[in-house]
Symmetry: C3
Subunit: 194 residues, 3 copies
């Protein structure tokens, strides 16, 4: 079983996975798609860090690299349940780009997608701590909201194409424990019903 966990940066995705795994009654291998891509890039493409991927590799090589990562994940899934930490809609140097295009999705065919959401205002404050954005204004908030909504509604394509089950979990400030338990509960039910 392969479950994608997605959500915009600052939503608390990694914390929920880390905390939620404690309540999941089945064994799951937690993988980060970004880390897998970086590992393969270091090994096969002579890359040292994330920035170099976009700067040193051609678009074609970047797509090849991503394809290798997808196949790597799908290969592991033959023997293990996987929670894959990833993004569906990424804010790039220019506009929003997809985290997973059809070519990759046709390989992954995830059983479930969990979108972790949060109040755009809370997301903004968490990002501010990480110094990722400079000015706090309405425009930034609206942009976070758009990226979050694009992520949520992007999942309908997966529902339609791969019969993927989608869950939306709101991670409210200070309620990490509740959100994590909901996350675990969803996965327990999904795998229990397979």
């Amino acid at each position: 079983m392969l479950i994608l966990v997605t959500g915009v940066p600052g939503v608390g995705k990694t914390s929920i996975i880390k905390e939620g795994i404690k309540y999941i009654k089945y064994n799951f291998n937690i993988l980060s798609l970004g880390d897998i891509i970086l590992d393969i890039a270091k090994k096969n493409y002579n890359i040292n860090n994330r920035d170099e991927i976009r700067k040193k590799l051609s678009i074609k090589d970047q797509l090849n690299l991503q394809m290798e990562a997808m196949k790597y994940v799908k290969d592991i899934e033959k023997n293990e349940n996987i929670i894959l930490d990833t993004h569906l809609v990424i804010e790039s140097y220019a506009g929003f780009v997809p985290g997973i295009i059809r070519t990759f999705a046709d390989i992954l065919r995830p059983n479930g997608i969990v979108v972790i959401t949060s109040d755009p205002d809370k997301i903004f404050l968490r990002r501010l701590k990480d110094m990722e954005i400079r000015g706090r204004d309405i425009e930034n908030l609206k942009r976070i909201e758009i990226q979050q909504n694009l992520t949520i509604y992007f999942t309908t394509v997966f529902m339609f194409e791969y019969h993927t089950v989608v869950e939306i979990i709101n991670n409210e400030e200070g309620l990490l424990d509740i959100s994590s338990k909901k996350f675990a509960e969803f996965i327990n039910k999904l795998i229990g019903n397979e």
Copy 2:
């Protein structure tokens, strides 16, 4: 002509179809996808009620059963106009699941989809009367809103793939007559312009 009518439970979908049909100037056969699936399940799969479908049938058999239902509908459409009462996004035992996946949509290829919407608060109250949900809280309201929005934006895939015409009709409390007339007007225009 095949028109899907969809909307989250409690939105007043069935009432609008029942009332709206009076104002439609063409003959339409009103079918419920859920009823058709149940009928076929009883006949061919030794099933007695809806619950048994999920409990007694394998995923593979459930998909076969649904496929038979789609073909049944499409077969009727050769001779009759059909209004098909159905769901695009279903709240399941775990998360949201698609009511119609690509394999089925490629068969149905609906000419139109009507999404009946309503204020999440009104939907909540209607569901409460039916005892479907226990506590009235913000979380339940947000969940209804998400399911409703997933349903609305799911239709873009149908627009893109099958050139389906989409109409969104808001069913305001106490205005069933107006909503039903809008529903009929849409269908009259759609079929009149074919």
Copy 3:
């Protein structure tokens, strides 16, 4: 490079393209899909104006006409960068219809889509000046909001299928210059990074 610019009527799309082009550092041919379709209709289908397309041509001929327009655009793109002014979700005589279906999108395969958005209230007022709508009521505002949201989330299909980069630019009243510069900045970055 082919960039679609889309947005509901009254959003200020044409103004932003006209103003924004001044700040784009590359040569772009600005085309309107509607104009191209009309030109071909006049030449090949004995049509005099937009209304006649729907009234005089069969659905099949309308689709053929649109297909010719798509191929015409894609042909020009071999030698020139194109900004294509178009619609993703159109409010028709009955319901919402897609501006670009898969058959056409598979030909266009746009590198980028810019969705120009605005506050539904502002859009309404601009349309009112153009006498396009009669009564100002909540229903009209809600309808504008739905069409705008359908347009925004329709783009996820393009992200998924064609790796299209999507940008959402909010055109605030009285800030045309700022919106136009953002529009140009997006295109400059996109083409600069190709």
